[in-house]
Symmetry: D2
Subunit: 396 residues, 4 copies
């Protein structure tokens, strides 16, 4: 008798359903973001984190796994071995998170997908456009789930913003501005730190450093909320701090479907900014503004009316679809781990639906999917080409 994960009947307009068991999650890569994501996965109570490829040194892999209370037999020194063994295991992982440095995203994602294991991969999805396309093809063929770590799109107030735009709440969009400003690269010697070094090595980080790390978050948010694909951009990369082989700052003009213009900016050298991810979408009837550092509130303007602030919680302007992602009462703050947990909740439901062989409505789960990951890689690639040719316009 086959296992059934989702309930027999699902109310797609109600709260998200409970699964018949926790799913089994594996971890590939053992850096700080894997800890954050594992924390998020655990808080959903939909995942047990049970296996990992946390180091290429077998001893170290086991030692790190022990800190996570993993069975030593499920602590692998390579993701190839992990994929092979887990796929064959009767209680093998249902999915893995991939949180390695960028250049391993593609091979790791590929090997797990080919082993029949679903994947949640960090951004950028890959370092090359062709690789991203290969992953799209692979998932198209197999129907497998490949989520991408654009967790910012899983804040309830971002979902609310998207819904307001979709319902025409700000009219026809006339411009879109996004930026992601940080300051942690301000000290000249920060580039020597081990967790920073690889981000400035083109062989690992890919053709960009800042753009592929945080710029891509901004670009994703712009499209996610506006519902418009970015079609072209012109970009200039800068090294604003100490000399380094890849950009630490980038400025862009952007263009979206329907010739909607915009701007995009990313830097790690803006002292006083840390989670400075800000979205501003303006239209013929109103505007929306959101800031990661004030993530509980969405500013919503209708021209001619008093300004509005929608805050995360139940009712008071929050839609039923958004409420599915709400854990604590309005005014009792949630944060970025909860956004990751929303991603892991939706990802779990997608994984479960695939295993159950159930078709789900297109817009039931809005977590970032492989197509969005591929669009992100194309965005990065286009920005590199534009910068190389002096900032000319490049189609995406």
């Amino acid at each position: 008798m086959t296992e059934r994960l989702l309930p027999e009947t699902i109310d797609f307009n109600g709260p998200f359903p409970t699964l018949s068991r926790r799913l089994r999650l594996g971890v590939v890569g053992g850096g700080r973001i894997s800890a954050t994501q594992a924390t998020a996965a655990r808080m959903t109570d939909r995942w047990d984190v049970i296996a990992g490829a946390l180091s290429s040194d077998p001893e170290r892999a086991k030692a790190r796994g022990a800190e996570w209370f993993m069975d030593p037999d499920r602590c692998y020194a390579s993701f190839e071995e992990m994929a092979k063994t887990e796929a064959a295991h009767p209680d093998g992982v249902d999915a893995v998170m991939i949180t390695t440095p960028n250049h391993l995203h593609f091979p790791a994602a590929k090997v797990f997908l080919e082993a029949g294991i679903d994947v949640l991969c960090d951004k950028p999805l890959t370092n090359e456009v062709a690789e991203a396309e290969a992953l799209v093809d692979l998932t198209m063929k197999t129907g497998q789930i490949l989520g991408v770590g654009y967790a910012m799109s899983c804040f309830p107030m971002i979902r609310q913003a998207r819904e307001i735009v979709a319902e025409g709440g700000i009219g026809k969009i006339n411009q879109i501005h996004v930026e992601f400003l940080q300051d942690w690269m301000t000290p000249d010697d920060v580039a020597d730190a081990p967790h920073v070094k690889w981000r400035l090595d083109p062989k690992i980080s890919g053709p960009t450093s800042c753009v592929g790390d945080i710029g891509t978050h901004a670009a994703h948010l712009a499209s996610f909320v506006s519902g418009l694909e970015m079609t072209a951009l012109r970009a200039e990369f800068h090294v604003c701090g100490a000399p380094k082989p890849l950009e630490d700052t980038a400025f862009m003009f952007t263009r979206f479907e329907g010739e909607v213009p915009g701007t995009l900016m990313a830097t790690r050298l803006a002292p006083g900014n840390r989670g400075g991810l800000r979205l501003r979408v303006y239209g013929s009837e109103g505007g929306l503004e959101w800031d990661l550092e004030n993530s509980e509130q969405l500013k919503f303007y209708r021209f001619g009316e008093a300004d509005r602030v929608i805050s995360r919680g139940h009712g008071h302007g929050v839609s039923a679809a958004t409420e599915r992602l709400v854990r604590t009462a309005r005014g009792f703050p949630e944060g970025v781990i909860e956004a990751w947990a929303n991603l892991y909740t939706e990802f779990a439901l997608a994984v479960a639906a695939r295993r159950d062989g159930i078709a789900i409505p297109d817009n039931w789960l809005s977590f970032p999917k492989v197509s969005e990951g591929a669009a992100g890689v194309q965005f990065i690639s286009a920005s590199v080409r534009s910068n190389e040719n002096g900032g000319d316009w490049v189609e995406i």
Copy 2:
């Protein structure tokens, strides 16, 4: 061979140590706050939530337990049965959270403590002062851990505030103001809702409704940050909304050690306020202000200097002790579930230390303890007496 939970050597100034296994947590009471706390416990990766007394109806108890993936054998229909069975179980729970309505806090806490199981009990610790004193005695005798759910004191910026005061950063305190304003009782018919009804029934809620629910959070925070015990108060209770048997609003003048004056205010009828818990401490050299709805930032004023804002994260004015409670980078917000997780982390370490028979430094773990719970009950009791005698001063 006895199990050892904590490492052989502990650096009490470093990050909190990992335990040799996850602790086992039971849940008594199955309302919304138990879900929040269980989420928090899970995110620490220091607890497995494995047993519960989630309903007095055996069928319902098992059904609720199933949603939490509990073994049906560990789903009890009474906390007495749960205490007895779990105490005898080779892998019995190490501790329980008590999240029942108020009148059951005392009997439940008592039965688990007597069974040798540590307890984290919601506030108010008990409905009667004598009960609270009995629990203090019990823990004194047995050395058991009885934590209390004043989770607001586990926000990193509250810990930072307490440290600044202790180090003399604002000089000699001259006044302390706290308030907790909410608005969910604004609609006249809200009192009929099942999760509200018991809060207005003196037999269950105890002698107060609003004071024992949120006023006590405010009072705890005032003492926790200032390091001063509240010694006296005068209180007036009000029913500002629809008629009801217990107060929905209370105003107080307060007095702390050293004759420091203050005010305290709590209400559920202030539209626009939800998590309106605000602390303001002023001294001869500076001031501190914190607001739950902006919990990531602590305002710190030194008279004569530019104003300062300390934000949660590493460095930039955050102390090493506070950093132990930090999960995500500055600017990537954490929230109230993370505050609860901090409580569960420290509680886990205290439980482990007791089981290991290890003495730990007094100020290593600052989670709210039984003495603070008892002080909260005395605060509530004093406010009732003052209100009854027309708002005269009452010693606590």
Copy 3:
């Protein structure tokens, strides 16, 4: 032929009308607040500041007057002389501002009113209730204009708040909280400064220091916006900083018409607070919040809806009556001098109407009048009596 100041026909719903000439203003008392008020009067273009009693030393009076470009003949060494001379002058002052220390408010106001000259007097109107009543009687008899310097009620967003309450926008009021927190008395030696010394001398400042200076602003605002008179209070005075003969801090419970409860707090020892005048009014359907340090914005909550922020300017939720007090476009900030200028504009219209012998609609001009000044003196007096009897309730 008599002069006519106001136009023949006035649209009481339109912008305020232009007068046929600037009115002539005299200044009694030459401290900092007189400079602020004169600046405000000038910016209205409805007043020329042409005469003054700026010092009791004749030489100094002339020297100070010269800085203000006053004719030496119009610089007086006593207000009695000034009242007599100006009343007889063909181009005598139409009105005076009284900005002396508190104990001179009464004799100065009396002498100018008796000379037929209108008065705008600083708060507190007088130091004794009987004196305030005498001034009320005097204006009743003569019809003269006696405005009071509660300038905070002349911020556009305060007017908007009052209008929202009057129209039922927050339903039936259930509680009112006001506070005025400052920090300039934090240093121990500040009391020795000349402009501070008199504020701590009961013979000059009257029976209170902090309450009569800033507490009375808070009390006025509470009544002004709510439309409810304060009927009773209980007060406790404190000296939170260095020892001094009068209170530097006061906490109160208040009661308004219809048994609406509230709180009031004033202190000069809250480091980080400067213009910390904050108003919060909550009702059965919504709430209003305003803060002097963010005076351009009014928070307006309707329970169950998204929060609103009304900002000073035209339209976008600002009423036509409020727009009369708006000078610059939304987003181009105005401040406290503009609030004073609104007071001087409305005062000018009242003075002109009296001189023209024209009846104006009751609610056309909302500047603070003698009755509000007298209510302020009664508030101060009640707070003194309550504090003296241990904080018992005192009817106002």
Copy 4:
């Protein structure tokens, strides 16, 4: 005997000195901004507004003048006539403000300067670069004062920011971002309003609409605070709202001395933004951020320290030079009219010094001067050329 306006000895480090009489100000152009500026001039008590060319229709010119209490003989129907007559008048105006539509700035400024009358001219200084250069030449030759209406640089907190940069408070600047976002052009039909129409007519407004109106404010502020000249830019103009002959939106990349990169953005179609002028300057050691809608506060970050907020007032991080521009106590807000008043104060001192034939220290008065006006015209011109050639880099 010649008149002497300034005192015999001036303390250039103290408060600004009083003049021996009010200066006489004329008004050219009678729109809304002239009312704001006249209000500001009056509040300084350094100017009497006594003459005007408020309309080309003689009757209307007199009628408008009467509203300002001007002598009918001093109300002119053309600025040429005004310049000639006032120059010959024994009590002629000392200076004029020019607040006409843009295309008249040049001829009006020229005629008054040639008549020996100093000028404060609105931005953009002229519509053509050659015109601006001609005015620079003219003032070089005659030593006359030609101020420009970049009033935003006269906010105390902007002055403080400039001082912090100059003293190295943020280290070596690495990037500069400015933007000015408004929303008043959101409605499709707003372009038909009379006060809007000329702003979209290239013959009157010049080669730009939005850039020359608000973009130039942003550009000025960037250079004013950073102390760096803008050397190059690439610009793209957009019409985001209803079709119109000139841009309503512009995005730019900018470059400053020392190859410092930046961005600049201006639009009138961002609903929810009104006075959305924001400056952000980042350097190797810290950052500064300022927003017109929160003009009283300057955010000042030193990397590695707690964030700071400097607020307008005395002390608490505000320098002595900045304090000269402070009127009211910290926390009692000032606004944009006060910024204009600061400009008029400094302009008055410059006019007086010229008339007295006194040399003043270079950095005593920081109001925007003709060279800054000319730089603004060059900025506008460069942006037009860049936009026309597809957004290529253009040297300024």
